[in-house]
Symmetry: C2
Subunit: 219 residues, 2 copies
């Protein structure tokens, strides 16, 4: 069985990191996230302007995020998924932020962007790993022989969910779910896991019907 799972992180496994930064610094410009604005360039323009105005440093960011905790049940859910299928977290977060807390998720593989700091350590820019990476990662993994199951909660996840063989919302805001009524949506890890198990069975049947192509050998 050759399935790979791709998951969003913020809003799915742990709280929005920019919101935690807003809480810690009191800067409301950090409060908007991909649940409200799907264009990361728009979000980052406002975030960087605020960061420069306040002199936001990398160590300040680290301090603000140190106490961020995964949602209740998130680690157990992620471990259950990782125990069944290779799993990659694909996120529009930034390495310098998520790395503060990734040990709390037991070091999953994460594809994300990076921040840039000036010589005084102040946040001045960012580098996208790849434009619109989420559906592109799905396409790339498919080219490596995988069928993909995916979950996310935000506008920037839609492309990934629609590119996947089985995609679903988890904890998505009602407005986003209403705009995409054909995508399944779940509110608990248990129901999402059950969706993945059912989808995997269905995909396994598909795969068994193309055995020759995929290289099954019995002695």
């Amino acid at each position: 069985m050759s399935i790979c799972v791709t998951l969003d992180i913020e809003g799915v496994l742990l709280p929005e990191l920019w919101t935690a930064l807003a809480d810690h610094t009191g800067e409301d410009a950090f409060r908007r996230t991909t649940t409200e604005e799907g264009d990361i360039a728009v979000l980052m323009h406002d975030r960087l302007a605020a960061a420069r105005a306040m002199g936001l440093t990398r160590s300040w960011i680290t301090a603000a995020l140190t106490d961020v905790m995964p949602f209740a049940g998130a680690v157990e859910f992620l471990q259950a998924i990782r125990g069944r299928w290779p799993t990659i977290l694909v996120s529009d977060t930034f390495n310098e932020m998520i790395s503060v807390v990734s040990h709390k998720l037991i070091w999953p593989t994460i594809f994300c962007h990076s921040l840039q700091f000036d010589n005084e350590g102040i946040l001045v820019g960012y580098r996208l790993r790849q434009h619109d990476q989420k559906p592109k990662v799905v396409t790339a993994l498919r080219s490596a022989g995988f069928r993909i199951m995916a979950a996310g909660d935000s506008l920037n996840d839609i492309g990934m969910l629609r590119s996947a063989d089985a995609g679903a919302f988890i904890n998505a805001p009602a407005a986003i779910r209403r705009s995409h009524p054909d995508l399944p949506g779940f509110e608990t890890y248990g129901t999402l896991f059950a969706f993945f198990e059912e989808a995997a069975e269905r995909l396994e049947v598909l795969e068994s019907s193309s055995i020759g192509r995929l290289g099954v050998f019995q002695c």
Copy 2:
């Protein structure tokens, strides 16, 4: 910086699992590995014939592999790599074997094949995730915007090492290294890590020179 590391597992991070199976069962047919034979179909033909003759079950395999330990320093090396770059283990091992010990490597993301058992639990076949997957995974990850650094020890790693932006042997038998004198080779995790760090710096310079394409934005 958008680099992904792909690593072989057996012979690189822990001992050959089929050799451990040979030790445990006394079946010498399990002793040949990808360091001697690059064609997995040839290897598996002999392994499956022996497995069927002896009635090798999944629970016997699990018992045989339970005590396999990572090489000294392997976990620390892998954690250092994972802390720096997203890392995927790409192996011609089988899910039902490596899953017995993957917790000892702290649940890395693993792309590998799977075994098939009959109703009595006896090993009767295998399914390749993808034919010649190692170089294909490198190509797929490159299509997702990554530059790739890779390491392996065996004949079946050559394609991956040559497809990567920076590929090197670790702990490869002398005969394999002599056949590929242009590929760098290392005997310790420390020297391989230093090779990756130098390669990453070089790749970062390359990437900085193509900033527009990769989407760097400074405010």
